[in-house]
Amino acid sequence: MPILLIMAWRNLWRHGRRSLLTALAMALGMAMSMSIISMYDGMFGIMRTLMIDQLLGHVQITHSAFPTRRGLYDTLHHADELLSRLDALPQSRGAVARVHGQALLGTEHRSAGVRLVGVEPSRELAVTKVQDTVPSSLPGGVDPGRFLADEPAREIVIGYDLARDLRVALGDELVAITQDAYGGIGNEVYTIVGLTRSGDEAMDRAGAWLHFSDLQALLALDDQVHEVRILAASDAQDVVGGLLDALPGALPDGLIQDDDATAAISPWWDIDPMAAQMMEMRGIAQFMVLVVVFGLVALGVINTMLMSVLERTRELGVIKALGLRPRGIVWLVLYEALLLSLLAAGIGTLLGAGLIAYLMTIGIPMDVGEGEGIGFGGIVFPSRLYGGISVEAFVEPILGVVLSALLAALLPALRAARLHPVDAIRAE
């Protein structure tokens, strides 16, 4: 066997320039797929952060009517007890309670219907990434301010786009007016302390964050909340599944005080099936790209190996006449393709690693004007997209280049094996 490997190595360098060119083409294809996977890692990483950490959580517990009706009275009681029980679950990274409301928000001159979300900032910090929705900078040098303080202080954080619509800035006062739980007119003045640009289009355009005690006071909701969301200890399906199994036992008595309702425990893929589909699209999209790239690589390999076999027809005939079995010939050609692909994999890994480093540090500008990124499915991507890094980004292209080369070499190898020694020696 080793002798075949040595022969294959020597054959490879009999047309060194041709082999190198082929290897380079393969390496380029590989580097390309590595950077595409890196960009997918980056993009889907952002989507995942947005969807699970910011938008949905892994699991939400609500009044059974809340997901569809989002009614003021569709509340949970004893949220404190529920939260402390959830904190104790090993499958949970943490849980937060939220209050939701609608209000007319504005100044004397302008107002808009706005979605209000009440959060407990100290808890959110440890669990979700909601604090990150206030960016470190905004287009045009606008100061984004900060997220809400830990204690209720009638502060409000509003979407950057909403702030522009209302013509307000940090430090300005906004009045919220809504119908409270007793049918009265809930109204309060809040000071803007931060502007968000989260990528969640609904919140950036028409949303505001309040301390949940402030929102409970505005809505006259006492200590009721609308939603408890849980982040699982990890994204792994079995951890999220284990969390889902453990939750029904963790619900305190009196959580739901409506006779005709129950507690709903909803995993994120049920809350937003479209988001789940989008995340699944990644696997399909990545596979398609790999198929196309390595399909082209395989064509190059077929060409090179066919040439190599054709021009050595006489030589192969002699080897066969000397007693090498057809299986040996197949291995000889496959070894040559394997060595070629390993060479390509070496060059490709270096090239791809360089590209990934570039994508991770410098990224690709995706500016569609005024520092805004592309929006897709209710998510706005940042105006500069960065690549990610994963084991996949290396393993899949290396496997791809080697397997496609071997597969492509199979046809020329079988052809060579089927040669009749006498005909082959006579051929010219």
């Binding site: 119908q179 739980a181 007793y182 049918g183 009265g184 007119i185 109204n187 003045v189 006259a220």
Partner: protein, 241 residues
């Protein structure tokens, strides 16, 4: 038809044999008149909450009303001004005057079964409906039952209205039906009292048909048709007073 209750005062002529038009006009203008001042209590019971709101009210003519909440403390000082078809709320906590936008006109007023639209809607039984008399009183016995259908041109959401009045010509009950003849709500008047030289029912109840355990009941605590009410009461400036 709720307006008459909030809008206080009256103007009923006491002819020996009233025409149906006069009866309806009397109901329309039950509490209307040149001017009035009063205090009322509103008791609201819903599936979700039960609460009592005390309010002071001023009215002048048929289309100007000011209502100021006295209690509960959370809502005290909230003032509603109605001038013709416009409705404003003044919110003392935030020192804001908010005009009720068209989209919120069908919303509840102060959590009651009365909508903002009810407050400004000035459709009149005596003008916007055609009627058939189903029952007539004989002397002092019996009652008036009048079935009304809106005229083609009337801007009215009801398909049919059935009004019941006592032999004393005071309204007892009005039932509102939708376009498919299903009962939507019932209003009842009771507890007739003298306020100055006028006799009017001091209780008024709105009962939504689809929520039998819910209702809103108004009760006059004071009603005064004599004290002059200046025009400036009904201005945006006086909302904040």
């Amino acid at each position: 038809m709720i307006v008459p209750f909030l809008v206080l005062a009256l103007g009923m002529a006491s002819e020996p044999e009233p025409t149906v038009e006069e009866l309806l006009r009397g109901t329309d203008d039950l509490t209307r008149g040149s001017q009035s001042t009063g205090r009322a209590e509103m008791h609201v019971k819903t599936r979700r909450y039960e609460r009592t709101v005390v309010m002071d009210m001023w009215s002048k003519g048929t289309d100007r009303t000011l209502v100021r909440i006295v209690s509960p403390a959370r809502d005290a000082g909230i003032t509603t001004l109605k001038v013709e078809d416009n409705l404003w709320n003044y919110l003392p906590r935030t020192d804001r005057t908010v005009r009720v936008p068209a989209g919120m006109m069908s919303g509840s007023w102060m959590g009651s079964h009365v909508t903002n639209d009810d407050l400004v809607n000035d459709s009149r039984l005596s003008e916007d409906y055609t009627y058939t008399v189903k029952e007539r009183p004989e002397g002092d016995d019996g009652r008036w039952v009048i079935e009304l259908s809106p005229t083609e041109s009337a801007a009215v959401v009801w398909g049919k209205v059935v009004a019941t009045l006592g032999a004393d010509r005071l309204p007892r009950e009005i039932r509102y039906y939708d376009g498919r003849d299903a009962l939507v709500r019932t209003m009842t008047w009771s507890d007739v009292k003298d306020f100055g030289d006028r006799r009017i029912p001091s209780r008024f109840r709105v009962q939504p048909a689809d929520q039998p355990e819910e209702f809103t009941e108004f009760r006059y605590l004071k009603l005064d048709f004599e004290t002059p009410v200046p025009d400036r009461t009904f201005s945006l400036q006086s909302l904040k007073r």
